[in-house]
Amino acid sequence: MLAEHLEGNVRFLESVNTWEDAIKEAASPLLYKGSITPEYIDAMINNVHTNGPYIVIVPGIAMPHAKNENNVVKTDVSLLKLEQSVQFPEDKEVNILFVLAAEDSDGHLDLISDLSSVLIEDEVKEKLENSTSEQEILDLLETVE
């Protein structure tokens, strides 16, 4: 499920300047495909401004998301891997961003469940951190689903 959604939405970058840029870059495949509107990107950034960097779900990995206020067209996910980590507020270093765009509050739960399976196993998480191509990541996700 997760792998299916991620196909074509994975990007690798050397580095970005700010965490705001990181979120923009990470979400760009979704914007390009029309799954979200530009407002959703602003909403994700504002979410961090208002509520703090709680979207950094485990050290090194962030899951930018926001409430759907008519700016998510279709439930979708994308992933950005940075060679050099970027700093989120409160000095949180992040090198993997997993953008979540959920149409309603239920439809995306199996995506989240898959993500949880990836992160819960240290071994799988490590592989994710060391992966260098989209195919590698997709194959890895398929093993846990």
């Binding site: 703090g52 960097p53 979207i55 926001a66 409430k67 509050s105 239920d106 949880s116 819960i120």
Partner: protein, 481 residues
């Protein structure tokens, strides 16, 4: 594992709270939480009524049209929505409102108490249903099942409450009428307060005033020019005493709203303004009864009475309808009843408050302790003595990170073979009131505390493997094995 040792200490500290007391307090807190957020609506309605009804300050026929719908629909629905939300979040709120509309249309008096029962009941029904269906809905069908289950159950609740409430009101009316007639026959008029005061708060005041006391009063007034019956249920003194007691000895929020309510009540004559305070702390009805009794006793002592039924029951209407020679008696009766109610209510509030203060104190001690523990923010509060079977992960939208946290925690429980614990995700404000533990990100603690101050809140920074969740897992393991 220094972490878990500390946690056990806190648990033991809290275990010496007797659970019945805790339960009574929890219930009292529940009533307060259901009423207090809506006081503003009561005040808005009170101002509108005091100003614009035909006997108000600046009568306005057009604006007065709002009075009736607001008290019949708006206020009870607000109570039912708040009550439902406290039990089962937004779905509970919807269910509570659906149930309440059945009650409202099925009866011809404002359904405050009814709404305070049906709201939480509706929430409970949908919660039970959701629990039973959890994990059984095929993926992709959640929306349709959720909407239709709420729709169908609400439809049934609406009809049930509609047919149920009519007979209940009728028998309550009959009971009140029969009791009052029996009491009048004994000649011991102060005893009337025993029926009057509870009946007023339940909105049977029109039944008793216009149905019984005014006819009795008009008979007497036709003969002697005045009657005490006009005063027995309309005396604004006890309500004033009650609101003053809340002003000085009530909880934080009640203390701030009571002065305004007392002005609308005493000068505007809108007695409904004090009803929510009684509903919030039902024991204070004793203060109302004591005040009402002493008021009637003083009125009869001075042989005082009014020339007609005061409506609304404001101090100005009282003075305007007092015949010559009754002024001293009427003023003394109002004053005495206010003073008596003030002292009795103050005593009741103080008794209740001591234990609350104890708790607040112990809470703040625990809080400062946990704050000292560098970097670990375990915010603990009173509700620890009970076994844990409902854990709510909460975040801003209730869809992303909280869902990740809850899913992961469920997986871990499953791995350890721990069953029967409900782990779900919510928007912070929608996390159900009966959650045993609330888990939030540390950046959202302040918001979680506002919504769930009486609960155990665990803060995390890592949704997958946070050290603060380990003691919780250990507690679950030891209590289930």
């Amino acid at each position: 594992m220094e972490n878990s040792a500390r946690e056990t200490n806190v648990v033991e500290m809290n275990q010496n709270t007797p659970s019945t007391r805790a339960k009574v307090q929890a219930f009292g807190g529940f009533l307060t939480n259901m009423v207090l957020p809506n006081i503003g609506a009561f005040i808005a309605w009170g101002l509108l009524t005091a100003l614009f009804i035909p006997t108000g300050w600046i009568p306005n026929e057009e604006l007065a049209q709002i009075v009736e719908p607001a008290i019949v629909y708006l206020l009870p629905l607000l109570l039912a929505i708040t009550g439902g939300r406290m039990v089962a979040g937004q779905r509970g709120a919807v269910m509570g409102a659906i149930g309440a509309i059945g009650l409202i249309v099925g009866s011809d008096i404002p359904m405050f108490l009814g709404a305070m029962v049906i709201g939480p009941l509706g929430g409970w029904v949908i919660k039970k249903f959701d629990n039973a269906m959890e994990n059984r809905i095929p993926a992709g069908f959640e929306m349709i099942v959720n909407n239709f289950s709420l729709g169908i159950l609400g439809f049934l609740l609406m009809i049930l409450s509609f047919y149920f409430i009519g007979p209940v009101i009728e028998s309550a009316n009959n009971f009140v009428t029969a009791s009052i007639e029996a009491l009048v026959a004994t000649g011991l008029l102060p005893l009337l307060s025993l029926i009057n005061e509870p009946a007023k708060v339940l909105f049977l005041n029109n039944v008793i005033d216009q149905g019984i006391y005014y006819p009795l009063g008009m008979q007497a007034a036709a003969e002697t020019g005045k009657s005490i019956y006009f005063t027995v249920a309309s005396n604004p003194g006890p309500g004033l005493g009650l609101l003053m007691a809340f002003t000085f000895f009530g909880g934080k929020t009640a203390r701030r709203t009571a002065p305004g309510a007392s002005i609308i009540h005493f000068f505007g004559g809108i007695h409904e303004l004090y009803f929510p305070y009684v509903l919030m702390k039902p024991l204070t009805i004793l203060g109302m009864i004591a005040g009402g009794m002493s008021g009637i006793a003083v009125f009869s002592l001075f042989d005082a009475g009014l020339v007609a039924g005061p409506s609304p029951g404001s101090i100005f209407a009282y003075l305007g309808l007092t015949p010559k020679g009754s002024f001293v008696g009427i003023l003394a009766g109002v004053l005495v009843s206010a003073v008596v109610t003030f002292f009795v209510t103050a005593l009741i509030l103080k008794m209740g408050k001591n234990s609350e203060e104890d708790e607040e104190l112990s809470e703040s001690i625990e809080k400062s302790k946990s704050m000292k523990q560098e970097g670990k923010q375990i915010y603990t509060s009173s509700k620890k003595d009970k076994s844990i079977d409902k854990i709510s992960f909460a975040c801003d939208a209730g869809a992303g990170s909280s869902a990740l946290g809850a899913t992961t925690f469920r997986k871990k429980l499953k791995k350890k073979g721990i069953e029967g614990i409900e782990v779900k995700h919510y928007r912070i404000e929608d996390a159900p009131q009966d959650s045993d533990v609330i888990v939030v990100h540390k950046d959202l603690l302040e918001r979680a505390k506002i919504a769930h101050n009486d609960k155990e809140i665990i803060t995390i920074e890592n949704y997958i493997n946070d050290p603060n969740l380990e003691p919780l897992m250990e507690r679950l393991e030891s209590s289930r094995s």
